[in-house]
């Protein structure tokens, strides 16, 4: 039976507040701290608190158990601000040495939206934040599939990372096997694995390795409605451990299994699927160089938060095609609302930039289109 490389991901986005035309120039607090605090409190109670307790128990009882932990930058911010106890629980998991931290961009950015130098800066920033908050420095990238895997691998390598775990999101080809170690770079064999989401019924299958990603936030919350809780995860892990299946951290897997094939250089498709997303992305990208040149930290932080992939996810128009009732109430009751708030926030950011006197205003804001 092939070994399992389990990656547990935890992410809570920076949430924009509804922001209208008349807020531009009037308020610069784009982020709904109250909503984030409330949602994190729910997630902590329902998922993270019991999950960390169960994982600590498993590490205690099974010396062979190991996994990796991808805590997103936005979640790390919120843990520090609202949930210090939970942060400590994650820290003690990491301190066992058998929960390997993964590094992603500091603001969960849609790498398609920003420049390579922005990705590099955000990777360095996140590595530093993780080291300070959780006491270990990550060496493996773990996050959403980038636009160009080879170029991305080069950035990760330049930052000092030694391998990648790519989420099998919509940007990776469907026919890519999830059971092998790839080389993402033709020059240095930068080792890469692609994760399979969820927990398969059938554990023992062919291949070099089984690399699984379980999204703690959604897994736990969604399953609660189906009356299946995190105990499913615990049960699955106990079954696998009792059958003697080997658990490896990504670093262990990479040191043992050399890359056997090359990862496709380009991802399958763009995560940007409609005109609203494209427009929001273009206008955000147009601000980057001016924001970085101005260098004012609050503006840089707001800009980076706006690069978060969740904002673009909320502008997905798929949901509007059907009138079926949605399961989860979100900040915005439609993709249109999400887009409008995003555009008005960009207008305000543009205005702040102009007022900072460094550059003349460009028409990235609410100029008639």
């Amino acid at each position: 039976m092939n070994p399992i490389c389990l990656c547990l991901t935890a992410h809570e986005p920076h949430r924009l507040r509804p922001y209208n035309y008349f807020d531009v120039g009037r308020r610069h607090d784009y982020w709904d701290a109250e909503s984030m605090r409330r949602r994190l409190a729910t997630a902590e109670r329902l998922v993270y608190e019991p999950a960390t307790a169960k994982l600590a128990g498993l590490l205690d009882q099974h010396p062979a158990f190991a996994f990796s932990l991808a805590i997103s930058g936005p979640l790390l911010d919120q843990l520090a601000a609202f949930a210090p106890k939970l942060l400590a629980a994650f820290r003690s998991l990491v301190e066992t040495g058998r929960a390997e931290l993964l590094c992603a961009t500091s603001h969960h950015c849609l790498s398609w939206a920003v420049s390579a130098s922005q990705v590099e800066k955000q990777l360095r920033l996140q590595r530093e934040r993780l080291r300070r908050a959780l006491g270990r420095e990550p060496t493996i990238f773990g996050g959403e599939g980038p636009r160009e895997t080879q170029a991305f691998a080069a950035i990760a390598e330049a930052v000092g990372l030694t391998g990648m775990l790519l989420e099998s999101g919509p940007t990776l080809p469907d026919d890519l096997s999830r059971r092998h170690v790839y080389s993402a770079s033709s020059r240095s064999h930068f080792p890469t694995m692609v994760t399979t989401p969820g927990l398969p019924e059938d554990i023992a299958r062919d291949g070099d390795i089984l690399c699984l990603a379980v999204d703690l936030s959604t897994e736990g919350l969604r399953r609660r409605r189906n009356r299946v809780t995190l105990s499913h995860l615990e049960e699955w892990l106990r079954t696998a451990l009792s059958r003697g299946i080997e658990f490896l951290t990504p670093s262990e897997a990479f040191s043992r299994l050399p890359p056997t094939r090359a990862l496709p250089a380009k991802a399958a498709r763009s995560p940007i699927a409609n005109e609203l997303q494209q427009d929001a992305l273009d206008r955000l990208a147009a601000l980057e160089s001016r924001i970085m040149a101005a260098g004012a930290l609050p503006m840089v932080e707001d800009f980076r938060r706006l690069t978060g992939s969740d904002h673009f996810g909320e502008m997905t128009l798929r949901a509007t095609e059907s009138t079926a009732q949605e399961s989860e109430p979100e900040t915005f009751d439609s993709p249109y609302e999400a887009y409008m708030s995003f555009r008005h926030v960009l207008s305000d950011l543009d205005r702040r930039l102009s007022l900072s006197g460094l550059q003349p205003a460009l028409s990235a804001g609410s100029a008639p289109a």
Partner: protein, 440 residues
């Protein structure tokens, strides 16, 4: 299936959504092979069309509201019938304020809502018994309170099941200041009907809350629009942006919010134009407010507009706004979408249950309304998405589908009464749009 249907408005005599909805449903039912005897107070067309026969019940000249002046309050003689819209007494004084101000233009259709509306309603009900004795039908279908008493009369003499169809309640038309006579008729109709059809889940909730109608007797059948209507054209570049309000200018339609939002929008885009197509009791106050805000150059009052003129306005407008306090359905939103015009609709509008590609506002939130108007005018990708997706979404709706749902309600009733018609009764639709709202 043979239906005895009591209607009040029917094109070309319409003053709002009721007539349009009634026609749409009749057309949809005819497509399903249903036979309909449609009873109307008066109607200029007498030509029978296939399985539809139009039966007129108030045809003598004295019944015409334009023929006899009657200053309110109107003294009316109680009509000898078993219906008791009012406590027993020989003569009742009914203070009846018209819901719809007769259109100012002479080209406008003749009103069915003259000052003698209460008299007409009772007279119409009186005729219903005779019609019901004469006609052959399986089920009775009555549209809105004006026809409820007629429906009850037909049910009394025939013993056939009665479906009352609620397109609007007095609460939607007049809020809490509604007419007690109308409320009373509504209550009688809703209590005496075998099934109640509501045009939206929103209306179903109002019926359960304000009229204590048991939810098990309510079915939701959304309005629709037939494909092929509406012409879509690209906006002409360089034209002044146009924001449209169309509907009765009554308090419940939210004209006050429209004007206040217009003022905020005009401060940001000085050349913006607003069109108000409709008339009603709030029109003088609306004009006054427009003057006070200095918006006379921005706002055009067209008066009541019917199909071809209104269609041109839909097609020309950049955004259609429906800021209603209470809107059972809101057919005009579908008409606007059919013309590819982006729509901003109040959250308390039934239409938002069937279309998703619209922007929603809480009716009193003027700043949010103004912000959304500005967003549509300023953000071209938003405008294009709302326009193309909204139009596509509306093209999927059809009156035939609504008619099928009505048929299912008829069959359900006949089944309960042990009557089997040749066609097999389809199971009730499971579409979540047509589910009733759960209790709070």
């Amino acid at each position: 299936m043979r239906v005895l249907m009591f209607g009040w408005e029917f094109p070309p005599q319409i003053s709002g959504g009721l007539g349009v909805a009634c026609e749409g449903l009749v057309r949809g039912l005819l497509q399903t092979g249903t036979e309909i005897a449609l009873v109307l107070p008066r109607h200029p067309f007498r030509k029978p069309t296939g399985r539809l026969r139009i039966v007129e019940s108030l045809v003598e000249p004295s019944a015409s509201p334009t023929a006899r002046p009657a200053p309110p309050p109107v003294k009316i003689r109680r009509i000898e019938t078993r219906l008791k819209p009012y406590p027993d007494s020989g003569v009742e004084t009914v203070t009846f304020e018209t819901e719809v101000v007769p259109p100012p233009s002479t080209e406008a259709p003749p009103p069915n809502y003259g000052p003698n509306l209460a008299t007409d309603v009772l007279r119409y009900a009186e005729r219903a018994a005779a019609i019901a004795r004469r006609e052959r039908f399986d089920v009775i279908h009555a549209h809105d309170w004006m026809t409820f008493l007629a429906g009850l009369e037909a049910r009394r003499v025939s013993g056939k099941p009665l479906v009352v169809h609620v397109h609007a309640t007095e609460f939607d038309r007049a809020g809490i200041e509604g007419n007690p006579f109308v409320r009373d008729v509504e209550r009688q109709g809703l209590a005496g009907a075998d099934r109640v059809i509501a045009v939206s889940r929103y209306t179903a909730s109002l019926l359960a809350k304000n009229y204590a109608v048991p939810r098990r007797r309510i079915r939701v059948v959304h309005n629709a629009i037939d494909p092929g209507q509406g012409s879509w054209a690209d906006r002409v570049a360089g034209e002044e942006p146009l924001v449209l309000f169309a509907g009765r200018v009554t308090r419940q339609k939210g004209p006050d919010y429209f004007v206040e939002a217009a003022a905020r929008v005009a401060r940001e885009i000085p050349n913006v134009r607003f069109a108000v197509a409709g008339s009603g009791d709030r029109l003088p106050a609306m004009r006054e407010r427009v003057r006070a805000l200095g918006l006379r150059r921005n706002i055009l009052f067209t008066g009541f507009l019917a199909a071809p003129d209104l269609d041109r306005l839909y097609a020309r407008a950049d955004v259609y706004v429906m800021p209603s306090i209470s809107e059972p359905f809101g057919l005009t939103a579908l008409e606007a979408l059919q013309h590819g015009t982006p729509v901003i609709v109040s959250r308390s509008a039934g239409v938002s249950e069937v279309v998703r590609n619209v922007l929603r506002v809480d009716f009193g939130n003027v700043e949010d309304l103004a912000s959304k108007i500005l967003s549509v005018l300023l953000f071209a990708p938003l405008r294009r998405s709302l326009s193309s997706r909204g139009r596509r979404e509306v093209l999927r709706l059809s009156w035939r589908e609504s008619a099928q749902r009505c048929l299912a309600v008829y069959r359900e009733l006949l089944h309960e009464k042990g009557i089997v018609l040749p066609a097999s009764a389809p199971r009730r639709a499971q579409d979540p749009r047509h589910a009733l709202p759960s209790r709070p």
